[in-house]
Each structure stands twice: as structure tokens, then as C-alpha cells.
């Protein structure tokens, strides 16, 4: 039984996340319209880049961080069956992160931080943007502290017992995030803020990009892990079956946390500041991380098959039809996996040096990350919200059918949006441009794809509104006299009685991460201090 105070903590986090989401959704549709050039009245590079930056920050940093924190608190308290440790600290984290978000929003909305939600110095934003982003991260570190302490306390109170999988995975994410955020934190504290305040005149762009690459890729796994948690701990139960393997799930989270970190240089394949050998090392690491994704795909599908057969499905594929497709969690995982297969394929192309050169800085890249993030990941955020919301507000979901329509429209909209986006990249359309004014046959050939993207975005915007509408209506509906729904975690098909410590703790893996990070980033970072390099003055603000 979750206390009202802990529920309140979760709801506050989730509402900030979803408020950011709906604002960013409108900006997203504006951007595809502006970029297409079909409506001249919308043409404004200044507004476009302010919008892109705000959209990216809201979706990539605010939605994710607040959702992960809120979901994490709820997972911790329910899976460990204990109140949140130090709720005061958790609320401090919330308010610090919210203050940071508001602080960053002001320069973003006034066009003083149109840096495309990146930290690629010497492109420079107003100092409030950097301080705001720092506060957002500092607040999330308090969440990490709460998660790590709760994990440790539970282990001490239950020696030799397997930590519940949901909490094990949440702790893996907290650990991953602490390591992940150090890179950009160093960049912002020692380069971006001093530059923005005029304390330093130039910055080493190579060092800045290297530090940002440290954060840039594992942050994706920070966003993705809640989706994987739902795959493993909610989906099998909601489908009416069992988790195929608890141990495999733990191994997948460990590999994600350990190998997801030292691989950021695939974002720097075309950068001259790092040599090919370091890029190769990070490239190999990137391909290793596809393993937990494949394992997850296998385990989730196996779990779904167990459920389908328990529900009477027979034959090679008959079990698929017998799955409860009207359950939002089950529908979401199917749609999410479909997008993961296509997005994962694109990801392997990005990770491969030669093919990366082909699509580098083209429209392919945003097409890819929208499919993986807004597709695979965010659709599971929806599923988690639909599942948890009735328990959080103690009222039944306003409309299950509306939820299903919303999930299908999100999937269809995503397909219509991102397929042409990928094609445009292959046709050579650059990313990060507000308009395509070069009227050649090539650029004219892009127009039909841009038109399709507008429709895809519009469908997604309607879907986003449906999502918010359903949650608001649920929360505002009158409370029923009796409504009891408790969270249900999936049981593994073979119960786990005991686990080796390396599958039940992170001490060893934390050390492995430290060694791998030292190998992968030690010399690439230190080289900037060994060599005489010239800094660059700030640019853009």
C-alpha cells in the first residue's frame, strides 16, 4: 500500500513531465510545418531554432528526467514495499529540478538559447540556460541518491535475498545516470558557464565535444531503461503470463549500464579531435550494446508467447492473436518492439563508421532518434502512465478505448513522420536547417516527403492531446466509492530463490565501469591538456 505522500510525490513528477510533453508536441508540429516552407507566414529561422531548442529540451531532458524520477519513486516504494527514504530530499530534488527547468525555459523561449538543445561549444547560450540545465541534473542526482540508499538498505535488511527486479533495474538506471551526467556536468561547469559569464574568452571545442559525447549516448539508455523495466516487470503479467527469465533480465540491465557508458564517440565519428583508434573502440562498444536489446527483444517475445499459449493460443503464431491486444500495456509493447526493430536497425547503421559517414548530419539522424525515443521509449511511458494513473489518483482510467486509439495513432503517426524523415536523409537533406531555399530538382524531390511528415506530426499531436485528455479526465472524475487496484509485478516462470552476487549488486559493476571509462575516456580527454590547442571564442549569443 503506497502512502498518499509517496503517491503525491510521483504525481507531481509525472505532471511536470507530461506538461513538458504536450507543450513540446505543439512545437514539434510547428517545426515540420516551418521547415517544409509550405506556409511562408511561418518562415522564421529565429523562431524555428528557438522552437527546436525548446522542443528538444522539453522532450529530451524535462519529460524524461521527471518521468524517470516519478516512476522510480513509485517502483522503489512498491517493489520494496517500503516508504520512500528521506522524502524531504526527494522533494528538494523535485523543486531544484523544476527551478532549473523554469530558469532554462526563459532564455529558450526568448531565443537566447537557440543551441539546438545541445552543449556543442563554442555555440553558446545565455548563462541561465546552462545554470538551469545544471539544476535539473543536480535535482536528479538527489533522486539517484534516494534510489541507491533504498537499494542498499533493502539489501542490508534482506541479506542473500534477490532484490526485486524492478528495483534492481531502477538502481541500474540511477547508477548509469550518475556516471552519464558527469561528462556534461564537467563541460558546463568548467567551460560553458565560465564562457557564458565572460570569465574565459575561449574554449577548447574538441574537449567540449568529447565531454558531451561522454553524456550524449548513455543518456539514451537512461531514457530507455524505464521502457525496458515495463517490458520485463509489467508486460508479462498484463499479458496473462510469466517473465521468461529473471536472470536474463538482470544481465541485460547490467550490460546496458556497463557497456552503455563508454561508447559516446560514435557521435564524433566525423570529428577531427579524436583519432580513429578511439572511435573504433567506442564503435565496438556500441555494437556490444545491441546485445541487451536483442536479449530484451527475445525475452519479451518469449514472455508474450508464454502468455499467449496460457490464454489458449496454439500453433507457430496462433499465440499472437490470443494476446490481450486491448490491454494498453500489451498493445504498447507490441508497437514499441516493432519500432525498436526498425530503429535498432538504423542504430546499427549509425554505429558503423562507413555507413555513418553516409548519413552523418542528414535528416536520417533525427528520423532515427525520433523513432527510437519518441517511438519505442515514449510509447512505453504512455503505457506506464495508463497503468499507474488509476493507482495514483485512486480512480479508474477515464477511457480504455481512448487509450488504445491514442497508442495506435501515436504508432501510425510515428511511422508516417519518421519513414520519410529517414528517406530524406538518404536523399541528402541536411539536418539542423530551418528552411531549404536551394531550389534544385533534388530539393524539389524532398517536398512530398515533407508533406507526409506534416501529416504524421499532426496525427501525433492529436494523439498527444488524447493522452493528456485521458489523464486529466481520470484525475478530475468523481472518486468511486470503492476502487482498489494494486500494482502487479510479473513473476518469472522459474522462481528465483538465490542469485550470484554479481546479478544482485552493483559494487563489482561500478568498478568495471570505472575501469572502462578510464580506458575509453582517459587519454581522449587528457590529450587536450598535453597538446597545445587553440580555443575558440563563443558563437551564437
Amino acid at each position: 500500500m503506497v502512502s498518499p505522500a509517496d503517491r503525491k510525490l510521483t504525481i507531481f513528477h509525472l505532471w511536470v513531465a507530461f506538461a513538458a510533453f504536450i507543450v513540446a508536441s505543439f512545437l514539434g508540429e510547428y517545426q515540420v510545418l516551418e521547415r517544409s516552407g509550405f506556409i511562408p507566414a511561418l518562415d522564421s529561422p529565429t523562431v524555428y531554432f528557438a522552437s527546436v531548442s525548446t522542443h528538444g529540451v522539453l522532450m529530451g531532458f524535462v519529460l524524461t528526467t521527471f518521468f524517470i524520477m516519478g516512476f522510480g519513486y513509485y517502483t522503489a516504494t512498491t517493489s520494496l514495499n517500503t516508504p520512500i527514504w528521506n522524502p524531504k530530499l526527494a522533494w528538494y530534488g523535485f523543486w531544484i529540478s523544476l527551478t532549473g527547468t523554469v530558469m532554462a525555459a526563459v532564455p529558450l523561449l526568448t531565443g537566447k538559447a537557440s543551441v539546438l538543445y545541445t552543449f556543442y561549444l563554442p555555440m553558446q547560450a545565455h548563462v541561465a540556460f546552462y545554470i538551469g540545465a545544471t539544476l535539473l541534473v543536480v535535482g536528479s542526482w538527489l533522486w539517484c541518491a534516494v534510489m541507491l540508499v533504498m537499494f542498499r538498505q533493502w539489501k542490508q535488511a534482506n541479506p542473500k535475498q534477490p532484490v526485486p527486479l524492478a528495483m534492481f533495474a531502477t538502481t541500474a538506471n540511477a547508477l548509469l545516470w550518475v556516471w552519464t551526467s558527469v561528462g556534461v556536468a564537467l563541460e558546463v561547469l568548467f567551460q560553458a558557464i565560465p564562457l557564458a559569464l565572460g570569465w574565459i574568452d575561449t574554449v577548447d571545442a574538441g574537449l567540449a565535444r568529447t565531454l558531451f559525447a561522454w553524456t550524449l549516448h548513455p543518456i539514451v539508455y537512461f531514457w530507455l531503461i524505464p521502457a525496458y523495466i515495463a517490458f520485463y516487470v509489467f508486460v508479462p503479467k498484463q499479458a496473462g503470463g510469466y517473465l521468461f527469465s529473471d536472470e536474463i533480465a538482470r544481465a541485460a540491465f547490467i550490460v546496458l549500464a556497463v557497456f552503455g557508458l563508454p561508447i559516446g564517440f560514435h557521435h564524433l565519428y566525423m570529428d577531427p579531435a579524436q583519432t580513429s583508434s578511439w572511435k573504433l573502440l567506442h564503435g565496438v562498444g556500441t555494437l556490444i550494446v545491441s546485445l541487451p536489446t536483442l536479449v530484451t527483444g527475445f525475452t519479451v517475445i518469449a514472455s508474450l508467447e508464454i502468455a499467449g499459449r496460457l490464454r489458449g493460443g496454439t500453433g507457430l503464431f496462433g499465440w499472437i492473436g490470443s494476446l490481450p491486444w486491448t490491454n494498453p500495456m500489451v498493445l504498447s509493447v507490441i508497437l514499441s518492439l516493432l519500432m525498436l526493430i526498425l530503429g535498432g536497425f538504423g542504430g546499427v547503421i549509425n554505429a558503423s563508421y562507413a555507413m555513418n559517414a553516409m548519413i552523418h548530419n542528414t535528416a536520417w539522424v533525427p528520423g532515427h532518434f525520433h523513432l527510437i525515443f519518441a517511438g519505442t521509449t515514449v510509447i512505453m511511458y504512455f503505457a506506464i502512465a495508463y497503468y499507474l494513473w488509476p493507482m495514483l489518483v485512486k480512480k479508474p482510467l477515464f477511457s480504455n478505448s481512448l487509450a488504445l486509439v491514442q497508442l495506435w495513432t501515436w504508432f501510425i503517426g510515428m511511422g508516417i513522420l519518421t519513414t520519410p524523415w529517414h528517406v530524406l536523409g538518404l536523399l541528402g537533406q541536411p539536418r539542423r536547417l530551418s528552411s531549404m531555399v536551394y531550389n534544385t530538382l533534388l530539393t524539389l524531390a524532398w517536398k512530398p516527403y515533407e508533406l507526409a511528415m506534416i501529416f504524421g506530426g499532426l496525427i501525433m499531436l492529436c494523439s498527444a492531446c488524447l493522452f493528456i485528455y485521458n489523464l486529466v479526465k481520470t484525475q478530475l472524475s468523481p472518486a468511486p466509492e470503492s476502487f482498489i487496484q494494486e500494482i502487479e509485478y510479473a513473476e518469472p516462470i522459474r522462481p528465483v530463490a538465490a542469485l550470484p552476487e554479481y546479478l544482485n549488486d552493483f559494487t563489482l559493476w561500478n568498478r568495471v565501469i570505472a575501469v572502462l571509462m578510464a580506458i575509453s575516456f582517459g587519454i581522449p580527454i587528457l590529450q587536450f591538456f598535453f597538446m597545445d590547442t587553440y580555443g575558440s571564442p563563443g558563437w551564437g549569443y
Partner: protein
């Protein structure tokens, strides 16, 4: 020896291109610091000698006919980017930019003086130039979109949406005298002015028509 000559001959175009940076001013930390540490107060005193030409408040003038004589346009300096202005003074000093009177005047301006003057003029309010009711549609299109057919980038990408310039080296154009603006772009077009790093303005100016240059000159003059 013959091989050496052949090698040098082959490398010659590369050396020539490398040498055509247009200016000897590099924005190293030392140079940036030098400009930043300029004294506005000293600059104000030094600027007394600039007033006869550049105006009491650094507002410059358009072409004027006085006593039957055509006086050339003088640039507005008020509100100008100090780094850009410092570079221009040093370019005059080094001979990378030539002007019948400024070249000799700049010979008497030390690096420190140049920094002081730059800081002083940048601190003055942007000059408010007369605005007429001209239609700026074409100029605005060039500023915001450029011209794809001629691979002309939009002006705003470097000079900012409001013609405010960039932090380092990119001049503010807002409020600049239209006659001076026009003359400058025509000089870039002919190559007479060549202190733009790696020919970036020369390449653009060569693609602009005289009418477009005029339109842009009037457009930027009335910007505030």
C-alpha cells in the same frame, strides 16, 4: 634540385591560398583579452580626433556635397562590435586594408589605443538613421533566406536577425550609413577591399547585384 623546384611549383597554389587569409589578426586569447581590457575613458579622449570625420557621437555621414565638392561617406562607429573595430584599425596599420586617410592615421594608433577606441565607440548608443518608406521586401528576403540559386547564404546567419553582428569579428550593420555600406560591398566585389578572412565577404559581394547592394544598404541603415 629540379625536383625541389617542381615540388615548390606544385605547392605554390596552396601556399598562395594559405597566404590569402586577408588579415594578420587572429582571435587568440591574448588578442581577445587585449580588446576586452581597453579603457573607454582613454578611448573617449583619443576619439576627439575622430570627431571631425565620424561625427560627435560616432554617427558617420552619407555622401555629401559641400561647396561643390563631393565628400565621401564616413562609417558610423557608434555601437560597433569592438573586436571588429579593433581588427579594422590593426588591418589599416598592417596594410591589409587601405584607405587614403585611415591608412596613415592608423599608423599612429598603437594596439592599446586601438583597443581603447574600440571599447569607447562600442559603448556609444547605436546611431538612429533616417528611415524612409522604402519597400524592404527584397532586402528582407536576402537577409532571411539568401538566394539558393546563387548559393548565397542569408545575411542573418552571420550578422544576426537584427543586424547586430556576432561576438567576435562580425560587424554590426544596424544603423550603418547606407552610402558607406554600399561603397564597402562594391569594394569587396571588386576586390579593392580584401581584409575579410578567407574572402568570405568578397565571395558573397561578387554574387550580389548593384541593386541588391543598394536595397541592403537602405535596409540596414534604418534598422535599430
Amino acid at each position: 634540385m629540379a625536383r625541389l623546384f617542381i615540388l615548390l611549383a606544385l605547392l605554390n597554389p596552396l601556399i598562395a591560398v594559405a597566404g590569402d587569409s586577408g588579415s594578420q589578426i587572429a582571435w587568440t586569447q591574448d588578442t581577445i583579452q587585449k580588446v576586452k581590457s581597453g579603457s573607454a575613458e582613454r578611448g573617449k579622449n583619443l576619439a576627439e580626433t575622430c570627431k571631425p570625420c565620424h561625427g560627435l557621437r560616432g554617427e558617420g555621414t552619407n555622401v555629401e556635397i559641400k561647396d561643390g565638392e563631393t565628400l565621401p561617406a564616413i562609417p558610423a562607429l557608434a555601437g560597433q562590435n569592438p573586436f571588429y573595430m579593433f581588427k579594422q584599425l590593426r588591418d589599416y596599420y598592417n596594410g591589409d586594408r587601405l584607405h587614403e586617410s585611415m591608412s596613415s592615421i592608423a599608423k599612429g594608433i598603437s594596439e592599446e589605443d586601438a583597443a581603447d577606441l574600440s571599447i569607447w565607440f562600442s559603448s556609444l548608443a547605436l546611431p538612429i538613421q533616417e528611415a524612409d518608406n522604402q519597400d524592404f521586401k527584397k532586402a528582407k528576403t536576402m537577409v532571411s533566406q539568401g538566394d539558393g540559386k546563387r548559393i548565397l547564404p542569408p545575411c542573418f546567419t552571420c550578422h544576426g536577425a537584427d543586424g547586430q553582428g556576432e561576438k567576435i569579428d562580425i560587424p554590426s550593420l544596424a544603423g550603418q550609413r547606407s552610402d558607406y555600406f554600399e561603397r564597402t560591398l562594391m569594394q569587396y566585389r571588386s576586390g579593392e577591399r580584401h581584409n575579410d578572412i578567407y574572402s568570405r565577404m568578397r565571395l558573397i559581394a561578387k554574387q550580389l547585384t548593384k541593386a541588391e547592394i543598394k536595397d541592403l544598404a537602405y535596409y540596414y541603415q534604418q534598422l535599430r
